[in-house]
């Protein structure tokens, strides 16, 4: 029969690559077909999540930034400098972490969702009206964030003024200097043309844009053992293929950006510069505790333990 999978991005973006690989595996290894829906086709991020909970969709891909209103602990990914910047360690972490593969699985299950895979899409890059190398440079700068308290807390801690703005208004607001910056993975900065109006790219190394692919739990539980395994294998396959895809993706996007505009500057913070930003992360951890409570605290401890384990 036909299964349905919705994600939050456009054609060719990372979530789309994951979805199509997932589809490919399922269709090659079973009698099922998978229909993939992209952003906007079935509504916004919250909508497709509800549709999955209602069982209209069998699979959904949603980023913790949106899941935060359903599962507060999911906002852990917005704590700055939690994850390392080195791709290999990050991928290893997502593969092996107990926090990701056991604790989060439980949290999602409470909401009627079977977590299939959490995976990184790319490192977050800040763009601003001038290069920023330490927290003082952020002073007075309005940086666009999603409506997400933890993200706000991060930019407050960095010394900037977090300003929530709908995505559709970001380009115009950067152009008119209503806001002075924003953050996104580099390939979105490229595809959305944001470097045209906000040309100073800053690699702060403070976080990865992370996302998660999941199934409706009732649907998943009702599958035969073989099908369950097949879906798990498909997730594994899609994960591996997507990690291959994002390897070098950021460099290619950056290349394109640098080639198409002379105004673009690229700042990669040095370890000493990063230390100054990093010193402010505990403030954000505190906000996270306030929002996610005791279970958030435990999750963060597990997270850190897992990171230590993969760093060895």
């Amino acid at each position: 029969d036909t299964w349905r999978y919705a994600h939050e991005e456009y054609k060719g973006d990372v979530q789309d690559v994951y979805a199509l690989k997932f589809k490919e595996y399922i269709e090659d290894n079973s009698e099922h077909t998978l229909q993939v829906y992209r952003f906007g086709e079935l509504g916004e991020s919250d909508d497709i999540m509800e549709q999955t909970q209602a069982g209209i969709l069998q699979f959904v891909n949603q980023s913790p930034g949106f899941t935060g209103s359903l599962i507060p602990e999911a906002q852990i990914f917005f704590i700055p400098y939690l994850l390392p910047t080195d791709m290999e360690t990050v991928v290893k972490f997502f593969r092996e972490s107990k926090a990701i593969n056991e604790d989060f699985t439980e949290l999602y299950a409470d909401k009627g969702l079977e977590l299939l895979k959490m995976y990184p899409e790319g490192e977050m890059v800040v763009t601003a009206d001038e290069p920023v190398t330490n927290p003082q440079d952020f002073k007075g700068k309005k940086i666009r964030v999603m409506t997400n308290p933890l993200l706000s807390s991060t930019y407050e801690a960095f010394g900037a003024t977090p300003t929530p703005l709908p995505w559709g208004e970001v380009y115009g607001a950067l152009q008119t200097n209503m806001i002075q910056g924003q953050e996104n993975p580099i390939f979105w900065i490229e595809s959305g043309g944001l470097y045209e109006v906000s040309p100073n790219l800053i690699f702060t190394g403070h976080g990865w844009f992370t996302t998660a692919s999941m199934a409706n739990k009732d649907f998943f539980d009702d599958l035969s053992a073989d099908d369950k395994q097949m879906v798990r294998d498909a997730s594994e396959y899609a994960f591996n293929e997507t990690m291959k895809h994002i390897d070098g993706l950021a460099d290619r996007a950056l290349d394109k950006i640098v080639k198409s505009s002379d105004k673009v500057t690229v700042t990669r913070l040095t370890d000493r510069q990063i230390a100054k930003f990093k010193a402010r992360a505990p403030k954000v951890e505190k906000t996270f505790y306030e929002m996610a409570g005791e279970s958030g605290k435990e999750l963060l401890q597990q997270f850190k333990a897992d990171l230590d384990a993969v760093a060895k």
Partner: protein, 428 residues
């Protein structure tokens, strides 16, 4: 399924049901056919609510409110009196300045509906008084407001740009040429109309009269200054500009001119709320309708059936034009761009068309569709605001839509209309 839904809609519409009913009935029938029961129909409600969620929509009630305050107070009259001293003696002058006002207002507001409201409510009474027929005036306002979508900033272009990975800056520049072309063609039609129908002109005003009228209009003349200055100065977004207009209008009418009491403002707000609800419920149910269409993959099925991937560049452009035009007759333009752009992407890529050119054609088509019966959102905005029956509002739109379609044809045949300015600006 597509045929069934279409039939339901047309029949109920013609029978004279409130316009939300055909959309609701067709959508729920779609749900029934898709899910074989009523179990999943609450998703329709989710999507009705989703349709009225976008932050940019708040510009509509805000501009309605600001325009109503200005029109009932003195601001609008003072502005128009001033303009009339300059152009009252020119044949078709008022109609041409209405079209120009729509273009300018659209340039800042970016919303066709807001333009219908703001410019329309101020200028329609004047057009009637000057001797233009109501159906001509309404059609002029609705269709000239379309230009708002082509002149930057344009939310439609931003969304297209992001989905199709096209430079938004280039799209913005490329929209200007076609926007001005349409304004020019509309002006020509206004002139012809005024001549054929022998719309009287006023006596030419003296310079002292002009000076006096301008002085009277100094305060209201700050409206464009505030909007343009505020947006381009980075003080507020185009959406927020609408609310700032409300604030300024209240200050003027309530504080400076003392033409309105607080009770008047309450009454105006109430009627603004009513109009907003009537329009937004249609926007919402339209979104619910488009969800089931999208879920059932109807657009893809139709395009595969016509063999979109085997058409040449012109064929693809024509197919795109038709698809966006027809879709926007029923559904909100933004939703249409979101749903249809990715479907056409492979065909666009295969034929090597310039994505900026395609983007401008799409933007123009959604603008035209929004002003086209039966469900064009500008049409029901006009009906709600001006309280005119449906037929009266759409009767005069024929020539305008013909001009718009002609322009669309020109744009397909001569991409330079859009690309000329872009190539100049991005020549390096």
């Amino acid at each position: 399924m597509a045929t069934t839904l279409m039939l339901i809609m047309i029949v109920l519409l013609l029978l004279g049901f409130p316009m939300m009913i055909p959309l609701i009935t067709a959508a729920l029938t779609g749900f029934y056919m898709m899910f074989g029961g009523i179990g999943q129909m609450d998703t329709f409600i989710q999507q009705v609510l989703g349709g009225i969620r976008p932050a940019s929509l708040i510009a509509v009630p805000m501009f309605i409110l600001a325009a109503d305050i200005m029109t009932r107070g003195q601001s609008a009259n003072r502005l128009i009196d001033m303009v009339m001293t300059f152009i009252g003696h020119i044949r078709g002058g008022l109609a041409i300045s209405t079209a120009t006002s729509c273009t300018l207002f659209g340039a800042v507001s970016g919303s066709t509906q807001a333009t219908v409201v703001a410019v329309g409510s101020a200028l329609r009474p004047k057009l009637l008084k000057a001797g233009y027929s109501d159906s001509f005036s309404l059609a002029l306002i609705i269709n000239a407001s379309d230009i708002a979508f082509l002149i930057p900033p344009s939310i439609g272009m931003i969304i297209y740009g992001v989905i199709s990975e096209t430079s938004i800056a280039e799209l913005f520049i490329a929209g200007i040429g076609p926007g001005l072309l349409i304004l020019f063609l509309f002006s020509v039609y206004c002139l012809i109309y005024a001549t054929v129908h022998n719309v009287p002109t006023e006596e030419k005003a003296s310079w002292s009269e002009r000076f006096k009228a301008t002085r009277m209009a100094v305060w209201p003349l700050m409206f464009p200054v505030i909007i343009v200055g505020g947006i381009y100065g980075g003080v507020f977004s185009p959406t927020e500009a609408a609310a700032v207009c409300v604030l300024y209008a209240v200050i003027l009418e309530f504080g400076v001119f003392r033409s309105l009491s607080s009770k008047d403002i309450y009454t105006i707000a109430k009627s603004t709320g009513l109009i907003t609800a009537v329009v937004f419920i249609l926007v919402g149910v339209g979104n619910g309708f488009s969800w089931i269409i999208s879920f059932a993959q109807i657009p893809q099925t139709i395009l595969d059936a016509v063999g979109i991937n085997d058409m040449g560049p012109v064929g693809v452009l024509v197919a795109i034009s038709v698809a966006f035009f027809v879709a926007c007759m029923f559904v909100d333009p933004i939703v249409v761009i979101l749903v249809l752009t990715p479907i056409f992407a492979p065909a666009i890529e295969a034929t090597g068309l310039d994505p900026v050119h395609v983007g401008i054609i799409i933007t123009l088509q959604v603008a035209i569709g929004s002003a086209t019966p039966p469900f064009g959102c500008d049409i029901f905005t006009a009906i709600a605001i001006f309280k005119k029956p449906y037929w009266e509002v759409v009767r005069g739109t024929g020539p305008f839509i013909a001009i718009l379609l002609f322009s669309a044809g020109l744009l397909v045949a001569f991409p330079e209309i859009a690309l000329f300015l872009r190539d100049v600006a991005f020549s390096d």
